[in-house]
Symmetry: C2
Subunit: 429 residues, 2 copies
């Protein structure tokens, strides 16, 4: 039996999960791979801190060089997070011909192509299943299970924090601020929650999913990113009465031969699988030309689920070492990227407007719609106390261009008589 | 660039889908694998029949030997179905050192171990992703994505025909016979639907899923198999009013160090992902000790979805050929199987009973429950026209042994005053 020594950088929730899973499941791993895994060295900030998982004969050090220069360690796991010094260390490890497994989504979304090339140049593996949707095995599955299908769309709930907040707003009628506070108290949201609630975390994951699905290399600037901070309890209630739940959805889809990608709040029809994804869970729907809709649902984060994805990577690399087939890219699909034309991207929209409750304003609104050739499917007007009416509208399909024209026209209303508070896509049943 | 010649047996819906996908997606396949796939020879019953897909330079023959003895064909796809002569042909192909991809669930569930051994002895691949849940990539995902996790349970909706019938009974209030007729008219059910509606098709899939999840080799006799033929509109309505939908669920789970496996109607709580799986779609939930619940949802059958799974197998074999790593088992996890003790398998149950509407019968029923230490959670009594009352009960958790004792006691009721019409498991939210 072959012993494979593992190095690790970071021993937080995920790192502890990896260590524990390797300790607990030795029998199954040997049964399947014929190899015994052992975590030899872990680089941490503080070697004296008490750890929740027994270390046995694993050696802790704060000196990265002890890992880098150990010829007995072929595989290193990076679960320290952050761009620096993770990037520099991974680069040094790849140059030292070590295989790297990372769960670092921000790093892969921004510097993935550079590090992937470095891995290929050095004939070693760089894999990162855990970087998207924690415990859901989505990247390896796209690579291995749809290689001959033309993927048309990948969309989903890929941020657990925002899904937790939206679930609480929907189910327990909390305000955004109350739900955020609860998420922070429970450790689902950070003290500064911007990265999650503004949609950036989800956007990084969509960049990686787009690469696997379409072969494109998007950057964060290629995506329209809108967070959940402006969703009101009124929107949630109104969507509910229309038969929808509001979710933060990442969408990346082929539109003709181009790709449209964004992260934004979306109305999802109740009774469809995505609508049942609650709390911190994630789900990704892949639509293939041949296969149709396939949904993957599970824990989007958490120590052990993410550790499971890291372990699937470690074992894939172990098998590559055993069969002498390392150095192949995790996903080598490459296509030129063209952003989609705003004329070609069409959706129904939920619009929330406030309107001065005076004669003529409804005519003003309908004229704006007529001017951009947009039409209503449903419209609900409720008076508010302060002389304004609240309009909730579901439109028929609009192109992005029509929506922008409509937004611009509303903004130019004289005396701010009309205000557009929200414009969210509406998914079909 | 390497050209890989493919042979095929059968050119029905799935075979045509495979041929079409290879024709349509040549560019992506070359991009990813560096190989060009070409279907060289297809063995069919009738070489003169008109085909829905263009054959280009693919050669049709009714002589299996032309495929078997062609040294230019390293991979053969079996999509003819049935046990004989598929089994003998696959055996001959493996002995001739050809890799085999099959979608044949019945064959793999019954003769998988024998054929797997034959493949290993000859150093070739035998893969069968399409044999379970059509377009859902579940087998390769269990193998590749949970190798280090202890899988606790795999359960799901793995038969599209029965799920279609139950959806129509639930949503459109059809009777079982009406829904079956509709499924037959639409081609979702066969003229003799027994294999589907009696649960055997689902049971074969659970045998394969159990092998991948637990390393066990069950036979059809190890499973309790109950179909949907006896589900009434009353049961559907009653379950609905309790907050559940009735689904035909395959369950395979660890109970202590043994495995419990069955296929039977089950009450699934509304609002959970499995409850939203409608019509002919399938879904499989894998519960891992580390990862928790992960759900895979998609088309359970159909030409193109199933063809996509066949293609993922062909490409996996192609990559193994390119890297010189053929001959490894699709899943080599092996564990001794122990059937679970009926004392250890505990569920809540939905019971439907008819009871003579006379004084003392309710006492009789409650005494039976007390005798086996079972208790009610919910009980609803409705009078029927013919002097009988209908009782719908949700119990607290019962062991299988308690349920059997309860069933036996009801059966021994004097004058058939009490009759148990259904006993279905109730899943927790």
């Amino acid at each position: 039996m072959k012993d494979i020594q593992i190095g690790m950088m970071g021993l937080g929730t995920v790192g502890s999960g990896v260590l524990k899973m390797i300790q607990d499941n030795e029998g199954k791993i040997v049964n399947i791979t014929g190899c015994r895994l052992h975590v030899k060295t872990i680089v941490v900030h503080n070697t004296h801190k008490r750890r929740s998982v027994p270390l046995w004969d694993t050696y802790l050090t704060d000196n990265f060089d002890e890992l880098l220069h150990d010829p007995g360690i072929p595989i290193v796991v990076e679960v320290m997070g952050g761009i620096h010094p993770a990037k520099e260390r991974i680069a040094a490890l790849l140059k030292a011909k070590k295989h790297v497994v990372t769960a670092n989504k921000n790093l892969i979304a921004t510097d993935g192509p550079e590090l992937t090339k470095l891995a290929a140049d050095n004939g070693v593996d760089l894999v990162y299943e855990a970087s998207v949707a924690g415990g859901i095995p989505i990247l390896r599955t796209i690579t291995n299970s749809f290689p001959a299908d033309k993927i048309l769309e990948v969309r989903g709930i890929v941020n657990g924090t925002t899904n937790y907040i939206l679930t609480k707003m929907n189910d327990d009628h909390l305000s955004y601020q109350q739900a955020l506070k609860q998420a922070q108290d429970l450790g689902f949201a950070e003290a500064d929650p911007t990265n999650d609630v503004a949609g950036f975390d989800a956007a990084y994951k969509m960049i990686i999913l787009s690469q696997f699905s379409f072969g494109t290399r998007l950057t964060i600037d290629d995506l329209h990113v809108e967070g959940i901070e402006n969703i009101t309890s009124d929107d949630i209630k109104q969507a509910d009465s229309f038969g929808y739940v509001i979710k933060l959805i990442g969408i990346a889809r082929r539109v003709k031969e181009s790709v449209f990608a964004e992260v934004a709040p979306v109305l999802v029809p109740k009774g469809t699988p995505l609508a049942t994804v609650s709390n911190e869970r994630n789900a990704v729907m892949v639509t293939g030309q041949a296969v149709g809709d396939v949904l993957f649902y599970g824990p989007g984060a958490g120590g052990l689920p993410t550790a499971n994805s890291v372990l699937s990577d470690i074992i894939a690399v172990t098998q590559n070492i055993a069969t002498g087939t390392t150095g192949h890219q995790f996903n080598n699909y490459r296509q030129q990227y063209q952003p989609a034309s705003p004329d070609d991207v069409r959706y129904r929209y939920y619009l929330s407007l406030t309107m001065k409750d005076v004669p003529g304003e409804m005519l003003h609104l309908t004229k704006i719609f007529a001017d951009v050739s947009a039409s209503f499917q449903t419209i609900v007007q409720t008076a508010t106390a302060d002389g304004f009416a609240r309009m909730a509208i579901i439109t028929h399909q609009l192109s992005q261009r029509q929506l922008r024209e409509l937004q611009a026209a509303v903004q130019q209303s004289p005396n701010n008589s009309l205000k557009l508070n929200a414009a969210y896509k509406v998914l079909e049943k």
